[in-house]
Subunit: 144 residues, 2 copies
DNA sequence: AGCAGTTGCATAGCAAGCTATCCAATGATA
DNA sequence: TATCATTGGATAGCTTGCTATGCAACTGCT
């Protein structure tokens, strides 16, 4: 029993993330959104007109991943890619009215999932959980 | 700022799981393993000859996901599917000598990733982290 | 001005998730 | 016993990740 999966942080992290994604997907699918699209919208709702590179930095995903997600969002009429006025290589990503209108219902749906997830934790435990998770992320980011 | 991603458990969970997977992948790729294959091997190292359904239960993934992972593992000569003696529908999954031999190096590699991830936490914080994570998983599993 | 290096994106190809279906084998029951 | 429901797997199709490449546009230097 050298490796008990219920004691492996990596195993648990994977399991937890899949459950979060599943819950989020259920909640936002009626809005016509997929999880990665929602994450991208979070950044654009805060600041519209970002470039693809800026989105990559804010969400910490690979550039190729973001390019594909943006292509699907464009297909679904959530964003438009416009030529960047100052740099011929890049484009600025702009929300459509449809995407702007989704902000309220989508964030509510996502908050509901977080609420369920943390439902059995006290207020203090929630803070501890978020803090520890952030520290684990930081440790992993330094090495990988 | 209704939704700060550094305060969203779901966002952090996704980010953390991706970093874990990235670290694990780096560490076990030289062994010819991919992350999901490793997770499956964890179950089979503990008990060889499980059916696909049993693996699905132990890893809590969908049946279709497991079927595809097993197909890749068969392709990579890590497992063999054998006809089940008592149930014509199912098969029992058996490790090859190659997969048996990978147990030591692969678990070491995975433990190293967990070590890095939890490197900045005290012993007590690690226990708290694992406990809280398990409770979040339980809460999510009940609803989704 | 011209070349070299850097940077921003796109694309190909693969792994691992998921949902939805379908088929064959079992089981239960009228 | 014959039919119907359940169960174990396979397959199709999609999203989201990743790495590896390639190309075009920009920057810096000489």
């Amino acid at each position: 029993m050298a490796f008990d999966k219920t004691r492996s942080a990596g195993f648990l992290a994977n399991h937890m993330a899949r459950l979060f994604a599943k819950g989020l997907q259920q909640n936002i699918k009626p809005l016509g959104l997929a999880p990665a699209q929602f994450m991208t919208l979070l950044a654009l709702w805060e600041e519209d007109g970002l470039t693809q590179r800026q989105l990559v930095e804010r969400l910490d995903v690979e550039q190729a991943t973001m390019a594909n997600t943006l292509t699907r969002m464009e297909r679904d009429r959530l964003i438009e890619r416009r030529a960047h006025p100052e740099d011929g290589r890049s484009q600025s990503i702009h929300l459509t009215p449809k995407a702007v209108a989704l902000r309220e219902p989508a964030t509510s749906a996502a908050l509901a999932v977080n609420g369920v997830a943390l439902g059995d934790l006290s207020e203090e435990e929630r803070l501890v959980f978020l803090d520890l998770t952030r520290r684990v992320i930081d440790a992993l980011k330094q090495r990988y």
